[in-house]
Symmetry: C2
Subunit: 186 residues, 2 copies
């Protein structure tokens, strides 16, 4: 792994662990073992680093979507939820949520990128839901996009709640309930 990649990876850890405004170039430099000025070489200002983290994340999610495009809707949804259950297990929050919290204090390029990321996720889940509805595996009352928003917001919110209460079981129960609700009779 290149130094640049290490920096991005570490910045992502901070952003998902405690937020964009809780780490400094100095924090990263200490851990990676370089000087802060070397970070500035790769990322002129902090916002560039934040942007790179979001871009990287989006790239991976797109890749994952591609790789699983042939699965059935239930598997796709389970995979999607598993991303968040893993975050919960590692006591992280999702990147979009983390950035959203401090959004008004963020630089514009970050706001734009996070909109892109969030838009992709909503679209992805909406597609899974529509596919599942058409094949009769899923059923829900609202339109697919609203349902997608509800599912995504539930997992985002639960990442926050379960990190506060420190009871991972609560998170698991909620994930189970989401899947059951979708596959409910009729």
């Amino acid at each position: 792994m290149t130094t640049k990649e290490s920096i991005i990876e570490l910045a992502e850890k901070y952003m998902r662990g405690s937020g964009y405004h809780t780490f400094s170039f100095h924090d990263i430099s200490r851990i990676v073992g370089i000087k802060t000025s070397s970070i500035h070489y790769h990322f002129p200002v902090k916002a560039d680093l934040g942007e790179a983290v979001i871009k990287e994340r989006l790239k991976r999610l797109k890749q994952l979507k591609e790789e699983t495009s042939e699965s059935d809707p239930v598997k796709k949804m389970a995979l999607f939820l598993s991303i968040y259950s893993r975050m919960g297990a590692e006591s992280n929050v999702c990147l979009a949520g983390s950035v959203a919290t401090g959004l008004p204090a963020m630089e514009e390029k970050i706001r734009n990128r996070i909109q892109e990321l969030s838009g992709f996720i909503v679209e992805w889940v909406t597609e899974i839901l529509e596919e599942g509805e058409q094949s009769g595996i899923f059923s829900f009352e609202t339109d697919a996009k609203t349902k997608a928003l509800m599912i995504i917001s539930t997992v985002m919110g639960m990442l926050q709640l379960s990190r506060i209460s420190d009871e991972p079981d609560e998170f698991r129960s909620v994930l189970r309930a989401i899947l059951q609700d979708l596959q409910k009779s009729r």
Copy 2:
């Protein structure tokens, strides 16, 4: 309003607007029109101010719960949701969520207080759901606490999502869906 109250109010605005780590004593002192050292007089360290904000918020919520204890479950739930729709309209996130994002970087007293706040909210909603279930107005598949967690996390997550996408309609649709889902036939 006393200076101390002004300080708390402003800190709460910051915490819900952009997070605990995005404001400084200096920011507050400028707006309130006092020196930073005067803030230290009221709140020796920043964590004391953060704690005061959460305490104040919890106090108000408890009061609101008391005041509405005689309403029917549907009204109670609508009231609860309206708290969040108002936040959404003002483009704030909820205090618990805001703190949760940066939790590992927070002082212990803040972690404890936010646990108290979050615990109260979960309990409150759980009680509303149980009451509604008993009187046959609400119906849901899971246990009341899990359902409460789902509702709370949905609104918390939606505050984040709709602030990113900047589409308040999405939020409204989701709130409507939550209430409809609870009152669904049978």
